[in-house]
Each structure stands twice: as C-alpha cells, then as structure tokens.
Chain length 228, copies 2
DNA sequence: ACCTGAACACCGTTCAAGT
DNA sequence: ACCTGAACACCGTTCAAGT
C-alpha cells in the first residue's frame, strides 16, 4: 500500500480517515468490548465512516490486528533487565508475559502466523534479551533459539488458557453436586478423586513465574551440558 | 437434554437423525476440511437434514465440539507407561501432546473453558498419570497439580503455535529480501541479526520432548526441594 | 485519491408451524 | 418427538459508481 505510506502531493480527494485514527478507534473498542467483538463494521461505525472505507487503509482484518499489535508492542516498556544471564532471561520472559496478559487477544493473533518476522524492533528487543541471556549463560546460538521457542510455547499457553477460563468464570466447575470433577471413577483415577475440589482451588493460582523458573533452569542446564 | 439420553417409549415421530450420526459426520468434515471450516449449516447439509434439526440433538456448536473431543479422547490409547515416576510424567504428557497434535483444533477448544471437569475418564487417565508420577517422585499433591498445569500450558502453547504456523507455510518468512527478520536494527538486536535466516531453519524443528524434559526436570526438582 | 451503498456469500440461532 | 423453512441479527469483503 505505497499510497498510504508515501502520499503524493496534489492527489485527488483529501482523506478524512487516517490509519492512525482507525487504530486508535480499534484499540478503544477492544479495550471496552473485548477483541472477539471487534468487527470491521462496528469499527467503521465508531469512526462514522462506511465499512468499506477501511479497506483503503488496511489490507484486511488480520492486517489491522497486526498493525495494532506492533503499535502496542512499541509501547511495551523495557525495564532495566538484570545483568545475570539467567535472571535476564526470566525477566525478559516475564515482561513478554505481562504485556500479553494485559492484551490476551494479542497472544491469540501472535500464534496465527510466523509472527516474529513481522514484529517491530521494540518488541523484538525482548526476544533479543532472552536469546542474549541464554548465550551469555553459555548456550550456543542454536540452543538459545530453542530456549526462546520453549519459553514462548509455555508463555502463550499460559496466557490463552488463563484468558479463556477467566471469561467463563468458575460456574462450570461446580456443575455436578459441588464436586469439581464430575462422576469420576475413584478406582481408576485415585489421585484425581483424592484431590477433588482442591483442584479448583489450585487452578486459578498464578504460577507463571514459578513454572518459568523451572523451565529456564532445565533449558539452560541442557545448554551447558551439551557443550561438555 | 434428558430426552436424548433417556428416550421414552412410544413417543411421537421417530428420529431420523442421531447424535452419533452427527458426531461421525462432523468428524469426517473436520478431517477433510479442517475444524475452522466446520459450520452447523454444512454439517446439516452433509447429513442431508435441515440446519435447525441439529439443535434437537446438541445444545449448540460448542457443545458439539465438546462431545466430539470426549469421543476422540476415549479412543486415545494409553500405552504402557513407564514405572519410573519422572519417565511416567514425560510419557503421559507426550501422549497428550501426540493426541492433540493429530487433532490440533481440540487444543483450541480445550483452552476455551474449564475443560478438565468435563472430560471423560479415559482422557483423565493421562492427567492422573502425570499427577501420580509427580506424587510418586516425592511431590505433594498440591505441587503435582502445579506440575500438571505447567506441562499443560507448555503443551497447549506448542500445539497452537505449531498448527497455526503450519497452516500458513513459510511463505511469510522470506518477505524482505530473503532475510527472515525484516529490516532489523543490528545495533540494538545483535544476536537476532547474527542469527539471521538461521532462525527460520531452527523454528520448524520438533523440540517438544526436549523442552518437556527441561520443564519436568525443573518442576520435579522444585517439588522435592520444597519438602526439605 | 478517497469514499460510498449495494451486493455477495456466508455465519449461529430462534421460533412458529408442520408431521 | 422430531423436523422444517423462514427469519433475525449478524459477519468480511468486493466492486462499480460517485465526488
């Protein structure tokens, strides 16, 4: 879309809608109603413009979401990361996690493509921090990429499971006579039966960083073991 | 829907559509066209029945997908799991992973609710195996639930990222003059710049089990450390 | 160059009516 | 009890026509 990025002088009718305006309105709608309720038609109505007008400023809905994520990604603050490599990996991953937790729909979109090549420099800075931390710890570059990918899987999974179950509330958990598990076979599933409702108490706990530490410890240990 | 589960004798018009028939047709359509293309209307057309008829046999589309998953879950084979607790955890998790890899849409649906309470005994057997393995290793039941949840995040994330990027192919990876990362700032992102196209080579590698081992090692170590 | 309404090809779901 | 078509309230996107 070169006509959008590099406007020529003295062209025809001047624009009344800008890409920035569209993104701002989209962001407002998502923050108010949730991303699953964002539609092109509602977005156009919000701006006060025909639905089809938006297609002059973005390629399609997916393109719109990517633009939005990159805009959001630029705003994610990069805190001063620790010097120590392992702690740097953990801090960078936790920053990614917290950014996604605030905008869980981004996690959903980020799984839907080879996204990393399309991210801007700012969000990539956190990817760089994870990779650099692993290398500084003593991993090979190849292993560092594997470290990042593994952390990414864990992080995305946590975000998606958490955001989806939060949407529904705990109502479904107590469908069958107050027990978390329905009519469970205590013979075949003794530990789950013994846990009973305890599962529902444990499930909502935020254990992201604990699990992250476990994962990173294991990944880095593999990295230095492979060197020997 | 008690009228479906417990049919009374001598009721009115006999059914020409059964829930089993609907599930079989749905499964066929998903296997042929992918789950994102399954619609109630197409499913009804496949069976040769009005779209609205399906609502007499399933509550709604989500209910249909849950029924399908539970049916599939019953068929997942439980291989003889290893005796050794750590290996049992890994083998059970890998079985869950492989089942989901064959039906990635199930992973998508399984994040959309407090699913675990609604699963049948057979798929829960693998959850039991993970929890039992962690406890046998020396973890508390509470920690064992945390172990399962962490593994679940990692597994679901891997499945979703992998299935979504597979759909698109690697075409998007080489948009900008053959480089995986677009126009990257080598000053600010030295390690990513140095990796360059190597990332695209590493990304498709199946490292699920490796990462799982790293995660489980870390999680179990935390579990026995907490005991001391 | 930019914007528009009409139109296309769909969705999931409800509901009154038929058998 | 089971099945139906019509209808409701939506979608994303294309395209010829207007300014």
């Amino acid at each position: 879309m070169p006509q959008v990025n590099a406007p020529r002088l003295k062209a025809g009718r001047p624009p009344t809608t800008s890409r920035a305006q569209i993104l701002a309105a989209a962001r407002g709608l998502i923050d108010r109603n949730g991303w699953e309720r964002l539609t092109i038609r509602k977005l156009a109505a919000e701006i006060g413009v025909g639905a089809t007008t938006l297609y002059h400023h973005v390629q399609d809905k997916e393109d719109l979401l990517f633009l939005l994520i990159n805009e959001y990604g630029e705003q994610v603050s990069h805190p001063g990361l620790p010097e120590e490599p392992r702690e740097r990996v953990i801090a960078a991953a936790a920053t990614i996690h917290d950014a996604l937790a605030a905008w869980p729909w981004a996690a959903e979109v980020l799984t839907t493509d080879g996204f990393i090549a399309r991210l801007g420099d700012s969000p990539l800075g956190l990817v760089e921090a994870v990779v650099a931390g692993a290398i500084d710890y003593g991993c090979t570059p190849d292993h560092a990429v594997y470290v990042f990918r593994s952390i990414w899987y864990y992080t995305v999974g946590e975000i998606l499971v958490r955001s989806h179950t939060a949407r529904r509330g705990n109502g479904a958990a107590t469908t069958h006579h107050g027990a978390f598990f329905g009519n469970i076979d205590a013979e075949k599933l003794p530990h789950l039966a013994a846990l009973g409702d305890r599962w529902a108490v444990l499930a909502p706990r935020d254990t992201y960083v604990d699990g992250l530490r476990a994962l990173v410890d294991g990944l880095l240990a593999q990295g230095v073991a492979a060197r020997a």
